[in-house]
Amino acid sequence: MVIKGAEADVEFDEDNGIVIKKRLPKRYRIKQLDDIIRRERTKIEAKIMADARKVGVPTPIILDITYDTIKMELINGVTLKEVIDERLIERVGEHVGKMHKRGIVHGDLTTANMIYSSEEDVIYLIDFGLSRYDEEMEGRGVDIHVLFQMLHIYDNYDKLEESFIKGYKKVFDKAEEVLDRVKKIEKRGRYKHE
């Protein structure tokens, strides 16, 4: 089965238990820019996935890598988009806290990028294509802001935000400072005429 994402085709090879993620060229952008984006994102994605796992954030193990393709282990589960609740989002808060503490910003924290394995009762983070090493409050704040924006599609988003914050604070000593920044980010970058 192949899922055509916005950025890459992801092939699920159930028999062999592997996932092959290939960044396809985009016809809308010029080749030079397209090559840079695909090459850099593939490289960074692989490196950060390994680093996140080292600090206790479950990510798929990488089996092979080329300039536009990552071959990794298949995680059996469903996206958090389908099964989200307060308990699980609190766990996500812990994962994100651990990554931020390690200096990793995920860059695309949406519930579609989180896989829940009910067998193991573990949430895996996937799609590190926009991730980077970043220890600034701004980067961390934007990371969480992006997730909160996406949580607005759920009716109980305020409860979900609360639970996320609970988990995040549990593992990260600079959580308060980051959350203050999140509030500031929400207010700016909008209309600043006056």
Partner: protein, 326 residues
């Protein structure tokens, strides 16, 4: 039959129109042109104050109707530049009291969306709204417009203007940079900043200005590369939102939507995703009075009017604050 007079004046363009149900009866604009540099809010408001009488009397004359037949006065209540908003609001309040008809405070962003839907026939599109101050990816969810992605600092139009101002190109810079970009031959690597569903332009603009100032690259090549990066960022986020929301219509609106390269990129992306691409006539992409009159008409029919004493302008009014009852 409802007839609404609408006035737009959130920034550079002062424009009024009269709309009757699905017909534009009249429209007229007197835009503000900065002498140099960018839009100065106070100067723009001064220009609007000078021209508003002429703009309103012209649309009344051109529509050839008895003012008594007008059922409502709509104005853009925000977002926008405070002094400009206040000038337009004052005129709208006066008309409402004089003609004894309801006042309607329209959200400027939503008006861009509604006129786009009306003129193109798009049913439930995802919207890319790109103007001077605004750059947002928006979609209707339930009874509200949800912002899926937006700029973390400045709007795309202001970003391009900032670049053009650095080289003494007069406002608006967009069309001129588009021309310069056509002569660009070489792509120069510049910052490309997408953070999930959001994006940022200020670092890109600074790097582009520096690239020209260091005289390493021509303004043609830099303009070309600046456009390629900025528009690719917008298209990437738009594509991701289309995928996430599983939407098969895209509506482009806002003044920067007139840029041919941006339109071309969006068209290609939509073709590849089997998404229908909609864009209204360029005339109705930028700020205009028709969009305010038409949205005001939708609101009037849903009973959403505002009392004069409650009609304070809202410079930071966000589209997701409005309940869509129509």
């Amino acid at each position: 039959m409802n007839i609404v007079l609408g006035i737009e004046g959130t920034a550079w363009n002062l424009s009024a129109a009269i709309v009757e149900e699905d017909k534009i009866l009249s429209e007229y604009s007197l835009p503000y042109q900065p002498v140099g540099g960018g839009i100065h809010p106070r100067d723009a408001a001064q220009s609007h104050a000078t021209n508003i009488k002429k703009v309103i009397s012209t649309v009344l004359d051109k529509a050839d109707i008895d003012p008594k037949n007008i059922n409502g006065v709509a104005f853009s209540i925000g977002p926008g530049m405070g002094p400009c908003l206040r000038t337009v609001a004052t005129a709208a309040r006066a008309l409402s009291l004089l003609l004894d008809i309801p006042l309607i405070g329209v959200n400027h962003c939503i008006a861009h969306i509604e006129i786009g839907k009306w003129l193109t026939g798009a049913k439930n599109p995802l919207i890319l709204y790109v103007s001077g101050a605004n750059s947002q990816v928006i979609g209707l969810r339930g009874r509200r417009y949800n912002i899926y992605g937006e700029t973390l600092d400045i709007g795309i139009g202001n970003a391009i203007d900032k670049f053009s101002r650095a080289f003494n190109i007069r406002h608006p810079g967009g069309p001129k940079i588009e021309e310069l970009a056509k002569k660009g031959e070489r792509y120069i690597k510049l910052p490309y900043v997408v953070k999930g569903m959001d994006f940022s332009f200020s670092g890109l603009v600074t790097a582009a200005i520096n690239a020209v100032n260091r005289e390493e690259f021509s303004i043609y090549d830099v303009s070309f590369s600046l456009q390629e990066n900025a528009f690719s960022m917008l298209v990437e986020v738009t594509e991701r939102a289309l995928a996430y929301t599983d939407t098969h219509e895209l509506l482009l609106t806002g003044g920067v939507g007139a840029n041919s390269r941006l339109r071309e990129m969006l068209k290609i992306m939509c073709e590849d995703r089997d998404v229908k691409f909609f864009a209204p006539d360029k005339k109705y992409m930028g700020d205009n009075g028709v969009m305010i009159a038409y949205t005001g008409l939708l609101m009037l029919k849903s009973g959403i009017t505002i009392k004069v004493e409650d009609s304070t302008v809202r410079p930071n009014f966000r589209p997701d604050e409005v309940e869509i009852k129509w």
